[in-house]
Symmetry: none
Subunit: 101 residues, 4 copies
Amino acid sequence: MPLLKYEQIADDLRTRIANGEFGPGELLPSGRDLAEQWSVSRATVVKAYDVLRADGLVVARQGAGSRVHGRRGADRASCGRTPSWLKPRHGRRAVPATGGA
Amino acid sequence: MPLLKYEQIADDLRTRIANGEFGPGELLPSGRDLAEQWSVSRATVVKAYDVLRADGLVVARQGAGSRVHGRRGADRASCGRTPSWLKPRHGRRAVPATGGA
Amino acid sequence: MPLLKYEQIADDLRTRIANGEFGPGELLPSGRDLAEQWSVSRATVVKAYDVLRADGLVVARQGAGSRVHGRRGADRASCGRTPSWLKPRHGRRAVPATGGA
Amino acid sequence: MPLLKYEQIADDLRTRIANGEFGPGELLPSGRDLAEQWSVSRATVVKAYDVLRADGLVVARQGAGSRVHGRRGADRASCGRTPSWLKPRHGRRAVPATGGA
DNA sequence: GTGGTCTAGACCACG
DNA sequence: GTGGTCTAGACCACG
């Protein structure tokens, strides 16, 4: 087996994040769920998330699950699906803070 | 040959989409059909669609064919000449929080 | 020939723009150069650029050549090579105009 | 099989690059070698490298092999633990136009 | 040697 | 039927 289990899991998550399945700030699958899906112990999943946290790809907080690093929306909005060469249009007009909200 | 085969095929589809031959959400020719029409291997057509998917122009689902990105009608309806996929997120403009809601 | 000459030329430019060979605001090859490179008349090249202008990909001004649509730098900077899922880090900290250095 | 072969290969390389086994500018294993090591077709390896190139992690030139993106030394030298390819354009800070030029 | 394209065909999952 | 992966091998340009 060229890839260890926890590396496989980490890499699978990396791929799914890269594919946009999970965006910045989004909640990732729980350790318990992943352990069941991959038929591994929770310790193995914990190690997989360790790798991703070491890479800076994922952030975790006590009792609040693991999330993709980055704020929701902001960055994604500017680098989403649109091909880069179609970008130039919208002038990054910042949302005017017009009193209300 | 200035253009590789898979680029030719991708660019031809791009052009036909830009020309409105295929609108948002519409079904594109199957890989098998294109392979026959262009007298190329199916793998070459798959690579052409790879390019278009990477561009976000096309979406494909197992067993359900490849389609032009975007919902039927919606985008096209609100646009003039410009192909919908040239319009970057013209909606999105957050609903101005005008007091109430 | 599934692609007409001017479509081939247009699509080649489109591909090269998509590949980043020419960025937003950058000057594209002159009609005279392209005509020679592709062994076609200048009218054919003009037609190719017509297509790209109709697509909104290219802008042309009298005597100033054709350029890729969009401002130089700005947008490219925010959506360059870095994979989208690596983006989140830098907090868009505007360059502090600290007088000195 | 949760991970496709080409994804496994791509992810393995990604991991090894992240671990510092291959630094910026360093030559990566040839497609032929990897194909033999993984007992897969060379086309599968090519696709793995496709993924890494699409991510901007790897650059390849005809006849000159594939290399980790980035110049030798420079990026690595200035970084701590974080793999250089996780650092978005830390240079680039435009020279502040201090009066003159 | 290297990377990349392309073929002809098998295989799989999805519908 | 569909898209996508994968193989084994040929071919090409680059060095």
